[in-house]
Amino acid sequence: MGEILPRLLRALATTIQISVLALLLGTVFGLLLGIARVIGPRLFYPVIDGYIFVVRSTPFALQVYAAFFLLPRAGIDLPLFVVGVLALLFNSVGYQIEIVRPALESVDKEQREAADSLGMTRWLAMWLVILPQAARRMVPPLTNELANLVKASSVLSVIAVYELTRAGHAIIASSYKFAEVLILVAALYFVTIQLLSWGAAYLERRIFTYRSGQPI
């Protein structure tokens, strides 16, 4: 057990790295597409909705395989780590759009009207008035999304990305200590994901306090 834990901890670091990368990159695209879905040209709406449908209606494992097969076929040879991040990113953006959009829509209509009456264009109103107010409402669900990404990143083990699940698998294959390894792997995931979920719940309460009119 003494030599297993450090290896698993290093793999956990990889898991967290992949998840955080996918979350942050995903937020950039999620914001752009979410904003476009709210105030962009109507032409975009079916495209964005279609993308969300594809992401949510196919298994993540299939998306991972698709990235694994199709990227090299398109002549894009990337390290597996990057392929994994891209697959996770593709998936996460579909969910993050649905975090961004409700947050934007939750800002009071009156705020938009006040911006309109000053003569702001809708993009300026989005940037100066809507987005700053919506941003804090996105923080708890995005923290939760990070927990989901840590869970989902385990699927990357099927294309041999050396994250926590893959590392556990490899150690079992070489040592046959499956009980010890599985308990450790499960515990590491559980603690990480639980901490993130608590964080999300805590932030949710904080935001709720803000919204009930207390000064920040």
């Binding site: 009156e110 705020q111 009207e113 009456s117 000053l118 003569g119 702001m120």
Partner: protein
């Protein structure tokens, strides 16, 4: 107060405005002119279409029919050479709205910004003034509405009356040709109402062109050059404060004002 404005040029002309919400008619054939420097007050019971009229002027509500000119320019679109109506783009509409300041019943201050930032935001980002200048002017405006010292408070830290005065400063910061007040004191208690009305009185003294929807009849009598009475979406009577309050002609106006007669209160 001072003499009429019949010689001044017309700033706002509203002709035959119609607006429906579903099956209810909010505005029926409403026409009104406001001259430069004129103070017009619209009265009438709740749901009579006063607010809708105000919101149609800067196209927060798009009228179904009728036309609105501000300073000779058609609001919300224009007619092409061949007579076709061309709807204004978002950008054109935004440019037109810069000339109309609006004060809302529920203040609608930007909740994430301090009082100063609320006022400076428009000049800085829309009028493209240097940040330092925009903030200096915002300070002056806040002082003008008696809020010096409150610059860095957030809307949630201000009373309703203070918020509404910030909102007035925010609208003034854009140096509009016309100020619209949509029941600015309806959400306030009498003491706070007084604070806000005092600021509005000062604006009136400075010859600001104002179109005010309010239930404060005392204010209307004191400030208005022209008073209009609305009922069920129609402007049924327009006249000087003396004509409307002392010698109302239309039975609806008489009935409405009777509710406010000294005996009634």
């Amino acid at each position: 107060m001072d003499e009429g404005h019949s010689s001044e040029p017309v700033l706002l002309r509203i002709e035959h405005l119609h607006k429906r919400f579903g099956t209810t008619a909010a505005l029926v054939d409403a026409s009104l002119t406001v001259r430069r420097g004129e103070r017009v007050v619209l009265i009438g019971s709740s749901g009579s279409g006063k607010s809708t009229l105000l919101r149609c002027i800067n196209h927060l509500e798009v009228p179904d029919q009728g036309s609105i000119w501000l300073d000779g320019e058609f609001m919300g679109g224009r007619f092409a050479a061949d007579g076709r109506w061309i709807q204004a783009s978002g950008g054109e509409l935004a440019r037109q709205r810069r000339h109309i300041g609006m004060v809302f019943q529920s203040f609608n201050l930007f909740a994430h910004l301090s009082a100063l930032d609320n006022v400076a935001l428009g000049p800085q980002w829309i009028l493209k003034r240097p940040k330092a200048l925009a903030r200096a002017q915002a300070r002056q405006l806040l002082a003008k509405v008696h809020l010096a010292g409150h610059e860095h408070k957030l809307p949630a830290q201000l009373s309703g009356g203070q918020q509404q005065r910030v909102a007035i400063a925010r609208a003034l910061a854009m140096e509009p040709k016309l100020m619209l007040f949509d029941e600015p004191t309806s959400a306030l208690d009498p003491r706070l109402t007084r604070e806000v009305l005092e600021v509005m009185l000062e604006l009136a003294r400075e010859q600001t062109t104002m179109l005010v929807v309010t239930h404060e009849l005392g204010f209307a009598r004191q400030v208005a050059d022209t008073v209009g009475f609305l009922e069920e979406g129609r402007i049924v009577e327009v006249g000087t404060p003396e004509q409307i309050f002392d010698r109302p002609q239309h039975p609806s106006t008489q009935a409405f004002l009777n509710c406010f007669s000294p005996g009634g209160l």
